[in-house]
Symmetry: C2
Subunit: 148 residues, 2 copies
């Protein structure tokens, strides 16, 4: 991870959400890189993960933290409370929605969650930023619905 990435508010949020669920205190001594390591998989590593069977529950937990961090970034930019709701079929595909009031700020379909991961912290942040921008733009387009 580069120093730029650690200044990234999304990455900071994500580390915070992950660390908030440290049950044992073991992660306290871990660096942000270590904490984020399970999110980083090369294309080759992803391809090696078989798509049969159910994805590891830890993956679904990581997807939730990823969207929590996106939700928080949208909240911070718009001042609107964002509620995430995720429905994942046990076989590894599903839908994540971030709502603000009566507005669907972000709607994201996911598949092959067995292979959820990113080439690098920067790549993860860039993908998250797209969803953050989409959410912020949608709220700015329909402010009355987001406040409803």
């Amino acid at each position: 991870m580069t120093a730029t990435a650690t200044q990234d508010p999304f990455i900071k949020n994500l580390c915070m959400f992950i660390r908030a669920q440290d049950m044992s205190g073991a992660w306290e001594s871990m660096s942000d890189d270590d904490v984020l390591a399970p999110y980083i998989l090369s294309k080759e590593q992803r391809r090696e993960i078989p798509l049969f069977g159910d994805p590891d529950p830890d993956i679904l937990w990581r997807v939730e933290q990823y969207f929590n961090a996106i939700a928080m970034a949208i909240e911070n930019k718009t001042g609107r409370a964002i509620a995430p709701i995720m429905k994942i079929h046990h076989e590894g595909w599903g839908r994540m929605i971030l709502t603000a009031g009566k507005l669907v700020a972000v709607n994201s379909y996911m598949r092959e969650l067995h292979r959820f991961g990113f080439d690098s912290v920067e790549a993860m942040s860039a993908k998250a930023q797209k969803l953050i921008d989409e959410g912020v733009a949608t709220i700015e387009k329909y402010p009355d619905v987001a406040a409803a």
Copy 2:
């Protein structure tokens, strides 16, 4: 169930969704009353169901069919495709959202799902009708968001 209730489009939809998942053909010979029977619990019956432990997965399945039938009624009235998304904590509380485009047409919080049930078919239909009316009114209020 009264003859009035069987003419009720929500009740018809609900029976259709339930029957669509008949795996064995055993329900073919059942009346609509029999098919809907698990949804009907008296206040006393509900009170007797303990709230500890996880609710029966069959209950969550029934909740899903209930909201599918509500979604279909809203679709039929508005011509908008409705997507349901439900997130239930395993202890029996959660949130159900019905979206149309970028609009949250219905947002329903649920709790004590162990005791999910209604006094009568008419009472169930009346409660569903409230959510249907809410969904239709929301879509009529924000037609451009529902079409987005």
